[in-house]
Amino acid sequence: MIPASWKRYQLSQLVNKALSLPKPIPFDFLVRGEILRTTLGEWCAEKGIGEEETLEIEYFESIMPPQRMSSLPHEDWVSSVSSRLSSHFLTASYDGQLRVFDYSQKLLRTVPLHDAPTTSLAIIPSDLAGFAENTHLIASASHDLTAHLTKLSLSDSSDLPSHQILASLHLHTAPLSSISANTSGKHLLTASWDGLIGLWDTLVPSSDEVPLEEPQGGERKKRRKLGDSENSKPKRKAPLNVLKSHTARVSRALFAPSGNQAYSTGFDSTIRTWDVENGVCLSTITASAKPFLDLALTPSGTSVLAASTDRTVSQYDIRAPESAATPSSATFMHSGTPSCIAVPASGSEHQFMTGAYDGVVRLWDLRSTKGAVTSFKVWEAKGGGKVLSLDWGNGVAVIGGEGGVEVWKANQGDRSVVSSN
């Protein structure tokens, strides 16, 4: 029995005492999918729940209000950020540049990747042979219909070039919207506006696999490029496989953790599961009139989160057998168009972050669909701006978008069980 006048603080004390923690940890509490903000009595009165009923209250470690740590100014909009590289931030911008920052906000590298706006970048987790220390392979997708594989060296030694574009990936006939790599770093997926998903390996070819097309009297004429292959020139690379099923723009394609499957979503309001090896669409989740902008796997790997232009982020169970019209299990309402979803690489399995066009980044708990756990507005000094990209891990959230890049400290709450009234 818990007094109805208790609020979060008293409950948190109770849990601390029960767990006999050496150092008190603040907890937050979930009552029926809702974070407790008032006293229990008020909550019951508001919901019309009698005080005699048994309430299940879940607790989780409180999330401190996120704090802005630093701001990384950019000249142009930032379309993609990544913090997966230890102690570095990578940003891809609409001016086609890749920028590398370290934690002290110092701009380490500026790599001109594309002539056209870069839309997405992915760090290929690899320890490829022939790569020196502090050298990484970066995949980037762009409006110029190609994706690039770039070798990036972060070591200070000047004997090596800081970067080298190894290959350009030629498949799409429309701007690319995303690129992603699997955990082993062997394969890449590119999603494009033309409705195709390209499956690539990360091996750099020794020669061009795709002929360069030249204008010749208005006709397409394939002609093999004359073969003085320079090292500096990126090799033209062809896809391993093409996944065709989407009827409209594919906005995001990503690998399942196992690597055998892939998920993709697009403007045709579908979420598709692919067998990567065979290039077959295994199942399709069809929503109605929900052009999806972004997709993320939940940490548990059993469901996906998809951001749609109807201002919702919906959770879909991907384990469901192939059937039409799988209803979303949870819907998270936003006030602006949600553009990106970030799920921490490790840690909490119930929390995720979304960024929206209204410049607000929200932290959600999967169990609390009514409202965000916490939210913060980025680029307040500049009057806000669209959030286009988000990465969250190790207690640090990197937000890229209209106003550049901001780094926020946002801890993940930890796991918990249940108390009851």
Binding site: A116, L145, A174, G217, G218, R220, A248, T337
Partner: protein, 764 residues
């Protein structure tokens, strides 16, 4: 007694004399009822033969005569007087009169006791002294027999008794002996008068009917007047006419008025009026009977009873509560403040018209001085307050709204502003969305044209042109990608960057072919200049069309569906400035030699070779293949501002500066099928969605209205137009609101360009 009576008597006497042959004595001997004529005849009989009288020894003749003459005395005297007037009738009557005279003399002798004239002892004068009446049996002159005096009582009371009543002296009248049935039968055989006899109740015996009674019966049977003495055909008595009875002297001495002997003019006029009316047929003297002339009868009870409810009863006065008690509970007694308040309020405003008061006993309660007043006002209430059941027309305003499907069931449609792109410090006049729905170009008044993604809103490329951008439009072809920007007297064809190579080559080949088509024979004022494909880039327009000088800023670019023809309208003066350019032939032509009115807008029909031309007030539809006018649509709009045709081609929407939006069903009529006036300011732009059943209108009030417009293939079904959503978000700048709207193909999204410099994307 008047004259008729005289004749009646004489006739009866004749009848009586004829009946002398019958043995009347027996009849009269049995006669009990006293009748005048029977008395007469009886008296005659008395005088004629005495033998019959002898059969009744106990009655002496004196008493008989007295009894006989008692009643007829008056009549006889009357008759005598009557006879005096006209006596000479005939001899029989004379003899009758003679006998009557005898009777009268007899009366003088017998009816009244003879008064003796004696000298009074007291006064010494003569006086008449009548003999004293002896109270014996004979003194009763009413009847000679012992009549039954029981009166009008049920005679069965005497059934058990030997007598049937009492006479005047109280003696019993014995029941007459009645024979048995055989005697009765024998009597009927023997007595010829028995069939005319009837049972006399009083006497309890059969009595023969008199001749008068028989006569009465006969008259009744023959429907004659029952009274034998009544003569309906009496001769008139001439009182004033006849000899010696003339009126000689006039009643008045005044001279005769003229009107007695001059015919009346007025009467003649009146008569002539009627005569004329008859002649002219205005009055029908003998109107033919028609059916309506017949009397009409109604079965008044056959009608249904009235359905009207009975008049409402007056509301009952409320029953008194505890407060009206003479000894109310304490809580009903008013406090001082309540009392004061009650006294201060107006009489009409008081809730109660009394203050509760407490009395210890009912006998202490004073008379209620308001009683009369209250009764009176109650009566006034009942009398003056009309109690009519008013059938108030209760119309729910919601029920008047036509039944439309809920907007929620018509999703998706744009509901919110997802993003906006700002053109700083200028108005964005025109916007266009690429056919694949991925890119937007927007052009502002300072000559900037920017290309940006629909869903991100990031400007990818910007072009700067000289002067205002009046219009820009993507080419609707999907195999080539370029758009046209209209600036002052010029059209620029621009290829966006980052095209796949095949598309880029195809586009370049279309816009800047290697070998130009032959120039037209007649020199055109429109010049086509293009940059060669090799040296072209997305920075500069690959093709430029120079419109004739002083044609002004083109207001509109309209593409044909196939993307080979485009039409432009220049805002400048002179021949309307309508040009149709053909890309493949690099040729421009002006389709109209002269145009009535200033052309506002043009449109190509999506499927047919039809061409819509909107002037200020009318929309004309031309067939370009046959080169003739098909139809003129009258929108009823004073100044048309915008127009769009449905993708199926059968419907047209026209917006006007006078806030109206007209929907034309081209198959239906020249008049609008529906006029929507939902904007509070001028309508600036209308657009149909290419695939979704949606259209939108934008206005200077800064709002965009989204409509659901479902068009049916069935010609009989009217299009369904449902207002869905009003999108607000654009600022009104110098009286201008949302200048152009365009739908995003393939998605239910809308791009709107506002005068505030913002281009917004509205998402579902």
């Amino acid at each position: 007694m008047a004259g008729p009576r005289v004749n009646g008597n004489s006739k009866k006497r004749k009848a009586a004399t004829e009946e002398h042959a019958q043995p009347e004595e027996t009849v009269f001997s049995h006669n009990v009822g006293l009748e005048m004529q029977s008395e007469d005849e009886g008296s005659e009989g008395d005088e004629s033969d005495n033998g019959e009288v002898d059969e009744f020894p106990e009655i002496d003749p004196r008493s008989d005569s007295e009894a006989d003459e008692e009643y007829p005395g008056d009549s006889a005297e009357d008759e005598e007087e009557d006879e005096d007037k006209d006596d000479e009738e005939d001899e029989e009557e004379e003899s009758e009169d003679q006998s009557e005279d005898d009777d009268i003399s007899d009366d003088d002798l017998h009816i009244f006791p003879k008064a003796k004239t004696v000298t009074s002892d007291i006064t010494g004068q003569l006086k008449r002294v009548f003999p004293p009446i002896e109270p014996d049996y004979d003194s009763d002159s009413s009847t000679e027999e012992a009549p039954n005096r029981v009166g009008n009582i049920p005679m069965h009371w005497y059934d058990e008794l030997p007598h049937v009543g009492y006479d005047i002296n109280g003696r019993k009248v014995l029941r007459p002996a009645r024979g048995d049935e055989l005697d009765k039968f024998l009597e009927t055989i023997e007595d010829p008068n028995s069939w005319t006899s009837a049972f006399d109740k009083k006497a309890q015996a059969d009595k023969p009917l008199t001749a008068e009674e028989l006569d009465l019966i006969r008259r009744l049977q023959e429907n004659e007047i029952p009274d034998a003495q009544y003569d309906p055909y009496e001769p008139t008595i001439e009182w004033f006419t006849g000899k010696g009875k003339e009126e000689i002297m006039p009643l008045s001495g005044a001279p005769e008025p003229k009107r007695r002997w001059v015919p009346s003019i007025w009467e003649k006029q009146k008569v002539m009026k009627i005569v004329r009316a008859i002649r002219q047929g205005r009055i029908l003297p003998n109107k033919p009977k028609t059916a309506s002339d017949k009397a009409q009868f109604y079965a008044i009870w056959n009608e249904e009873p009235s359905a009207h409810p009975a008049p409402l009863p007056a509301p009952k006065p409320r029953l008194p509560t505890h407060a009206a008690s003479y000894n109310p509970p304490e809580e009903y007694l008013p406090t001082e403040e309540e009392r004061k308040r009650w006294e201060e309020t107006e009489k009409e405003d008081r809730e109660q018209n009394f203050l509760p008061q407490k009395y210890s006993a009912l006998r202490l309660v004073p008379a209620y001085n308001q009683f009369i007043q209250e009764r009176f006002s109650r009566q006034l209430d009942l009398y003056l307050a009309p109690r009519i059941q008013r059938t108030k027309l209760q119309i729910d305003p919601n029920s008047l709204i036509p039944k439309l499907p809920s907007p929620n069931s018509l999703r998706p449609f744009p509901v919110y502003k997802s993003l906006s792109v700002l053109h700083a410090k200028t108005r964005v006049r025109s916007v266009s969305v690429s056919p694949d729905g991925a890119w937007v170009v927007s052009g502002d008044e300072s000559g900037n044209v920017s290309l940006w993604e629909v869903i991100v809103g990031k400007e990818v490329k910007r072009w700067k042109f000289d002067g205002k951008v009046g219009a820009l439009e993507w080419c609707p072809r999907t195999d080539v990608v370029f758009f046209v920007v209209a600036t002052e007297e010029r059209l620029h064809f621009v290829i966006p960057p980052n095209l796949p190579a095949p598309v880029l080559f195809a586009t370049q080949a279309v816009l800047s072919p290697a070998n130009l088509p032959p120039a037209p024979a007649t020199p055109s004022p429109v010049k086509w200049t293009s940059v060669s494909a090799a040296s072209s880039s997305s920075e500069k327009p690959i093709l430029t069309i120079d419109l004739p000088p002083s044609s002004g800023l083109p207001k509109q670019i309209a593409w044909h569906r196939k993307g080979d023809y485009l039409s432009t309208i220049s805002s400048g003066e002179g021949q309307g400035g309508v040009w149709i350019h053909q890309i493949s032939r690099r040729h421009s032509q002006a389709p109209f030699k002269k145009v009535k009115g200033a052309v506002q807008l043009v449109l190509f029909h999506p499927t047919k070779p039809h061409f819509f031309v909107a002037t200020q007030r009318y929309v004309r539809i031309y067939n370009l293949a046959e080169q003739k006018l098909l139809k003129t649509l009258q929108a009823g709009i004073r100044w048309i501002s915008s127009m769009d045709v449905h993708p199926l081609g059968d419907h047209l929407i026209v917006g006007g500066y006078d806030r109206k939006l007209c929907w034309f069903d081209l198959e239906l009529s020249d008049k609008p099928y529906k006029i929507l006036r939902y904007h509070s300011r001028a309508v600036r732009s209308v657009h149909f969605h290419p695939t979704y059943p949606l259209f939108a209108s934008s206005s200077d009030d800064g709002s965009i209205q989204i409509f659901h417009a479902r068009v049916y293939n069935d010609l009989m079904t009217d299009p369904l137009i449902v207002p869905l959503k009003i999108l607000r978000g654009h600022q009104v700048n110098e009286g201008l609101g949302v200048l152009q709207i365009k739908w995003v193909p393939r998605q239910p999204w809308l791009v709107s360009a506002g005068a505030d410099g913002n281009v917004a994307v509205w998402c579902s």
